[in-house]
Amino acid sequence: MKILVCISNVPDTTTKITFNSEQTEFNTSGVQFVINPYDEIALTRAIEITEKDGGTVTVLHVGEASADPTIRKALAMGAHDAIRVNAAPRDAWFVANQISNVANGAGYDLILMGRESIDHNGSQMAALVGELMNIPSISICKSLTLEGNKATVDREIEGGKEVAIVETPFIASASEGMAEPRIPNMRGIMSARTKPLNVVEAVAVDTLSEIISYDTPKGRGQVTLVEADNTDKLVELLHTEAKVI
């Protein structure tokens, strides 16, 4: 089984999000970047599959050299090699084209990625890449089991689950439950620096979207507590302060 796992490099979940003064760029200074947690689930499942049935896991990242520590962590977790497309990830269309360009004709049986990245939360990648490569894509999968070239996939749907059967090659995006991310061990960390990390240049892609500005959610307002038996006060406040009645 030859598996490609696409990973994003995202700010750690505890990051305090700030932007530049024009509100057009995320301020990355002092920010700790990590493997996108959903991608980590996909990667863990890919490693589990190859540990059981043999094969290789290649991680693919579209981004600049600053993401190399994140890629090395994926290698430490157990991926066999890595490819970095050397370009800032402009938008989903750009990244999907880079992924399909690397994957097309390379003979991957399975392409895995997270259901979404936790920074931009676009949730478009699996579908975009599937269309570009003209292979099936299944989103938001909670489990994935393989038997020969057939996979059984549980999908998360509103109020329940859907079971799909699909033949390789295909693309799946992972959600919680598909695997439990593992902590890389010492041996993995030490071998990570000797595993191949191949850097390839990006192909030209039209820019279809542009980010005009970013904004942070407004802070929560003050809370005024009113005693349960003081309904007159409540009515007065709703009328004079909240101005909803």
Binding site: K16, G30, D68, P69, R72, K73, A76, I183, P184, N185, M186, R187, I189, M190, A192, R193
Partner: protein, 595 residues
Amino acid sequence: MIDTKQKSLKGGEFIIRESDPTSVFIPEEYTEEHKMMASMADDFLDAEVLPYLDRIDSMEEGLMKSIMDKAGELGLLGISVPEEYGGFGKDFITAMLMTEKMGAGHSFAVAMSAHTGIGTLPILYFGTAEQKSKYLPKLATGELKASYCLTEPGSGSDALAAKTKAILSSDGKHYILNGQKMWITNAGFADLFIVFAQIDGDKFTGFIVEKNTAGLSLGEEEHKMGIKGSSTRQVFFADCNVPVENVLGDIGKGHLIAFNILNIGRAKLAGAALGGAKRAIGLSVSYANERQQFKLPISKFGAIKHKLAEQAIKTFTLESALYRASDQIDEMEKELLAKGLNPADSLLGAAEEFAVECAILKVFGSEVLDYVVDEGVQIYGGYGFSSDYPMDRAYRDSRINRIFEGTNEINRMLIVDMLLKRAMKGSLDLMTPAQNIQKELMGIPDFGNGEETPFSECLTAVSNMKKAILMVAGAAVQKYMMTLAKEQEIIMNISDMIIETYTSESILLRVQKLSTTKGSDELTVYIDMMHTFIYESADRVNHAGKSAICSMADGDELRMMLLGLKRFTKMHPYNTKDSRRRIANVLIDKNTYPF
């Protein structure tokens, strides 16, 4: 002159020479692999240790052992064990970084540290080839767990007064051990015990004793103030037959094992304290940001900012000193390897060379952690006193650090004792610079030439602290000669001056080095920490020096030395309130310990 520059210093030489900032290692220089290992250790603590602290402290059956097993699976127990014995053969800085990371793990940190340090290292450094092959691979994976039995009910600080006896059996195949060991960490689940006993009553010797050896039994778990989840028991030996092939090191040379391992243990204790301090600061600042009083987060108040800043300053200084010394030990080890020593003797030799620095780190590290957790409780207020909040455990767990691995009093005395012994042996020339100080005292003081930068002012201050040490220590040696050991109070004073100086110089060197890579805005907070620490350190040197001088001198000598001390500890007035507010604001903004 005491400002002779040279690339690498010998142990203790910082008192008479200056270091070149480019030659020191600073934590900002960690490799990608270091960072990945540190992140792995953080993940391990978050997943396997921190969620279970209450259960660990309640001594839940088998829990600590299972967490140790998981640490072993990840390779965390084999960091320092050579690859040929199934470990990873990492250098001292790497081992220190992992010790620091695990140091935030409360009782687990103690169990792991006892296993990988005093449990494993005696076999690594003093074991025969057979002993190493038999035990090290299993210790590195955690299949075997180890403990170290030195202390006895009647011998703690005076370790060599141990009464446990070993007598050779009539067939010459066994040593028969009889005696009692106390405060034995990991005893409850250990498979191996490194035991020290007197062969024929007077040859202090190390032994490897396996758990199932007939005659070995354990006492009940001790009830302790802190590190409650760490197994601590007495170990009894009643006609315990230990095969002669399990003698560790040379007969009668057990003290070499006990003391050499302690040098490494002391530095590592400081590493663990650093990890604990960083976690306690993170908790303190996030609580201070959250807790509202008078309609404001308490982190907005100057009194709280002072505490947060001081926690950070001390911790940053500890880190600077710890990794400076760890790198020196690594470098010395490489030097000894190049001279043809085997790897074990090289690291032991390097740690022995820097034994003064290791003792300084032990004292400073444990006292920094105690300060940080004490103020942590204060920042938490009433909730700090509640066992439902994390600062209670941090406070209780910290306290033992000033006691084990040699009490801070023993270590303070060792610092001065080791330096003076080196001076007497001629390996460290304290005499010439001390005489030069005497001459300088008779001369006209240097009034400086006006404008000073924080760096130039701090450089002068540290250089002057060294002069103050030489003046006070020189006078003490002259006055008391061979009876100085009896003047423990004065030794404590001198030791405090030395600790202040080493740590001041360490933060100075780190920030000097940082100034070559960081922009001026980013550097501000580092300069603030350096300047504040050194400014107040000079006062503390003055205080300790004054106590010593007033205890041993009188008349003209007293007056002259006090004047000299004043000259050597003087700095330009500095606004530490504003400086601490700037430092605290960085912590408050990042909501963690960010350095």
